[in-house]
């Protein structure tokens, strides 16, 4: 099977409001795809459509080689073999850990094995309210994995955790998924989360997928300015392209476009060289402990930021030369 999930041109409407429109993407077996986008972009709707909690209005969804949603067919959630981890974990409050994890699966051994997998052996008799947030999350994951589903879906699984826990838990969950070779689709608005653990990321807005790619490509070559800004810090300089190049205060860059363009640069790829003859002026800087963000006004008046190490300190008014690497150029 080449794809664990294939979503083809799926549309879902709520009255006059579009939930998702013409949505298409695929997920390879054993890999993690994250749907990334701001609130209301339709990512949760897409997830619920795959799970079977919503009926689609058009298109089709195929899971594990079998069509589960389509114009003629809607397989109910309990028949889909799709496990789901909810944002609020949805652990059954009247059952202990063993009962929760074993709810969809048979046999104590399987439960024990899963608890071991998620590192919660020894907490079998606890009730959900007696567990920490991170522990609850792992129980939810174990429970979803227990019936050996074809796919695991997770809706903002880390957003309820303390920021300090998040990174560690993310890594652990990713490891568990890889160890069990589980296909997964996550949903989040946190681009750091999406980029750090996914094989592929689908950026969504207004019910549509704007770009699907692995994190590195996505980050380096965002398909449009909005995606660029959503994935990370980005500054835009206007310029005019002609004869295969555009001339900007940051340098001359090759491009196939012609006419007015915007050049996107990321602050972490901008370098500053102090020089009394420099054509840019430091306007200010913000100190972040591990780095600093220096704002610079270029000749021509445009502003750009540079994320640099904490040494040297750039006082406002210092003249600098500005260089940028890896820009992406868009038409205006």
């Amino acid at each position: 099977m080449s794809e664990a999930i294939r979503v083809t041109r799926v549309t879902k409407r709520y009255g006059n409001i579009v939930g998702v429109a013409d949505l298409s993407f695929a997920v390879a077996p054993g890999s993690l795809l994250t749907l990334l986008g701001p609130s209301g972009c339709g990512k949760t709707t897409a997830l619920r459509l795959i799970a079977g909690f919503e009926r689609l209005d058009g298109g089709s969804i195929v899971v594990g080689g079998a069509e589960v949603s389509g114009p003629e067919i809607h397989v109910p959630p309990e028949k889909r073999r799709v496990g789901m981890v909810f944002q609020d974990y949805a652990l059954f409050p009247h059952m202990n850990v063993v009962a929760n994890v074993g709810y969809g699966a048979q046999g104590r051994e399987r439960v024990e094995a899963l608890l071991d997998l998620v590192g919660l052996s020894g907490l079998e008799d606890r009730l959900p309210h007696e567990l920490s947030g991170g522990q609850q999350q792992r129980v939810a994951l174990a429970r979803a994995l227990a019936p050996q589903p074809a796919v695991i879906l997770a809706d903002e699984p880390f957003s309820n955790l303390d920021a300090s826990l998040r990174t560690r838990v993310r890594r652990e969950v990713k490891a568990i998924l890889q160890d069990s070779n589980t296909t997964a689709v996550f949903v989040t608005h946190d681009q750091e989360e999406a980029l750090s653990i996914s094989e592929r990321v689908a950026v969504m807005n207004d019910g549509r997928v704007l770009q699907v790619d692995n994190p590195s490509n996505l980050y380096r070559n965002p398909i449009n300015p909005w995606v660029a800004g959503f994935l990370g810090e980005a500054d835009f300089i206007k310029g005019r392209a002609a004869a295969g190049r555009v001339d900007t205060p940051l340098g001359i860059f090759a491009t196939d476009l012609s006419g007015p363009v915007q050049v996107m640069v990321r602050p972490e790829l901008v370098t500053l060289v102090p020089d009394p003859d420099g054509d840019a002026v430091v306007a200010g800087s913000e100190f972040y402990g591990h780095d600093q963000l220096v704002t610079v006004i270029l000749s021509g008046g445009a502003g750009v930021r540079a994320r640099l190490g904490t040494v040297p300190v750039f006082a406002p008014g210092t003249r600098v030369w500005v260089k940028a690497e890896g820009p992406v150029i868009y038409p205006v």
Binding site: P77, E78, K79, A90, A144
Partner: protein, 534 residues
């Protein structure tokens, strides 16, 4: 606790409720549908027979309407004033013994209005206990407060607990931050109360006031005993005093219309009230009282408790002892007690089960039929019990004749009258259960039915139990429908109190009343005490 209209919940944010499965809709319709039939039949019969001139002269109808509305208005104002006062003093001030006062103020719920009226009759008049006491101080005997004053007192004293209990959670949920901001901006405590506090508790107050209004509208026992001519009293007099049942039917239909108008008007002015789901993060600030205010507050609370609890129990016990001293044989009411318990328990159970499909349908799914079922149920709840009793009697005599004078017919009437009492808490309990729990169960392979059984019902269990407890209490106190529909020789405690009172045997009535109070007090205390922790 005692809502009188469905709690409307907002759908989980960003999600529209799914369409309802046909099986669930059918179950809900099967529950609610038959409940509406008797009243519809009543209205049809009333229209058919209503042309006759034998009903009542128009002037009398106007008089009845004015009397009824005047009583409703008076009781609503008085009980709201008292109930809000007791709730405020016991939840928002640092009065000593606030918890005890709070519980005491909720207990009078256990006393049915007709027992309250009975107590009034026994406390006043030349032989009344209060008169005797007054004589020792040198005051003259108290006149029996028949008519408006008596009915107002009897009803207010035993309905203000509704306001007290329903205002309490709203007062507890007040955000102290808002009041602090207002004070910081220079507003006096009075202004803070009017402009910041009142609007926040207004929805709860409005629901309580509607409940009190409907209760007063429906009251039959108290106004009969005290001789105040309201619609319900007139209906019963027509029923009991004439061979032709048509006048009673027509008047009942008119009363149904008045009640429906009242609730539709309230619904329209309500807008969408969302169940507050959040929890207060900070414990609310209790206002400190000056010494003088402390005395005033204690005095007020003391007066209320004396009038609504101490006085009734004293009068009843006094009557009982007087009878014992006069050598009367001990009253045998074991059979009636057992019957009351059994029939109330049965009703509570049936109602709780019947309410569940309707609750699930209206909270978890989007269904127009579900919304109608809910409206129908709440409208029926608002109707006076006498009219429901009459309607079911009509149906029993003409349509389902094998059920005439059977317990099943009586239980059917109880179901009509009390379903929403269980529906409300069940809906509220269900709304507190996140739908993602049910979705999780389905994603783990369980069908919708299995999910309801293993997840929904156990979690809603406490809400259902609260609803069942409430129904149990109300059924114990029910009088007019039971009078009309009971099988021969099937007397409940309430009926026994009523029949012995009509014959003037106050001692026997007192014993039955004391037993009724005792038996009702335990579930009431549990319900009230449970709400204290909410």
């Amino acid at each position: 606790m005692t809502a009188v209209a469905p709690p409307i919940t907002a759908a989980p944010p960003g999600r529209r409720l799914p369409r309802a499965p046909a099986g669930l809709v059918a179950a809900a319709v099967l529950v609610i549908g038959p409940l509406t039939l008797p009243v519809i039949y009543l209205m049809v019969e009333a229209v058919r027979g209503g042309g006759g001139s034998t009903v009542l002269p128009a002037g009398r109808l106007v008089e009845l309407t004015v009397n009824t509305l005047a009583l409703v208005a008076g009781v609503v104002v008085a009980s709201t004033g008292i109930g809000l006062g007791t709730a405020w003093l016991t939840t928002r001030t640092d009065l000593t013994g606030a918890r005890v006062w709070w519980t005491l103020a909720g207990l009078p719920l256990v006393i049915p209005s007709f027992v309250g009226a009975l107590v009034l009759l026994g406390a006043t008049g030349r032989q009344g206990i209060l008169s005797r006491l007054g004589e020792t101080i040198g005051l003259g005997p108290l006149p029996i407060p028949r008519g408006y004053v008596g009915a107002l007192f009897a009803l207010t004293m035993f309905t203000f607990p509704y306001v007290h209990l329903m205002a309490t959670p709203a007062l507890r949920r007040l955000d102290p931050g808002l009041e602090e901001v207002a004070r910081g901006l220079g507003a006096s405590p009075g202004r803070v109360f009017r402009t910041v506090t009142m609007p926040q508790i207004a929805p709860a107050l409005r629901a309580a006031m509607l409940l009190v209004a409907l209760y007063t509208l429906a009251d039959f026992g108290a106004v009969s005993l005290l001789g105040y001519d309201t619609f319900t009293r007139a209906i019963f007099l027509q029923y009991a005093g004439r061979l032709d049942r048509t006048p009673a039917t027509v008047l009942a239909a008119l009363l149904v219309v008045i009640a429906l108008v009242l609730i539709w008007w309230e619904r329209r002015s309500r807008g969408r009230t969302v169940i507050p789901g959040g929890r207060t993060i900070r414990p609310h600030h209790r206002m400190p009282l000056t010494r003088r205010k402390r005395w005033l507050a204690t005095g007020f609370l003391g007066l209320v408790v004396v009038a609504s609890l101490v006085l009734p129990i004293t009068v009843l016990v006094g009557w009982w002892l007087r009878g014992v001293a006069a050598g009367q044989a001990p009253v045998a009411i074991l059979a009636e007690t057992w019957r009351s318990l059994a029939v109330s328990g049965a009703t509570a159970l049936i109602v709780a089960a019947a309410a569940l499909p309707v609750a699930i349908l209206t909270v978890r799914y989007r269904s127009r039929v579900g919304a109608w079922c809910e409206s129908a149920a709440w409208s029926l709840y608002a109707l006076p019990h006498l009219t429901i009793g009459l309607a079911v009697l009509l149906v029993g005599l003409t349509v389902v004749t094998p059920l005439y004078q059977t317990l099943s017919l009586l239980l059917f009437a109880y179901l009509i009258m009390f379903l929403p009492q269980a529906l409300g808490p069940t809906q509220a309990g269900l709304a507190r259960v996140s739908p993602s729990l049910e979705e999780a169960s389905r994603s783990l392979g369980k069908t919708a039915f299995a999910t309801a059984r293993r997840i929904t019902v156990p979690l809603v269990g406490r809400g259902m139990l609260a609803g069942a407890g409430l129904v149990f209490l109300t059924t114990m106190k029910e009088l007019p429908a039971t009078l009309l529909l009971r099988p021969t020789e099937f007397e409940t405690l309430a009926v026994r109190i009523w029949s012995t009172t009509s014959e003037g045997f106050y001692t026997r009535a007192a014993v039955a009343a004391l037993v009724l109070l005792a038996v009702s007090a335990i579930p009431l205390y549990l319900l009230v005490a449970r709400n204290a922790h909410e």
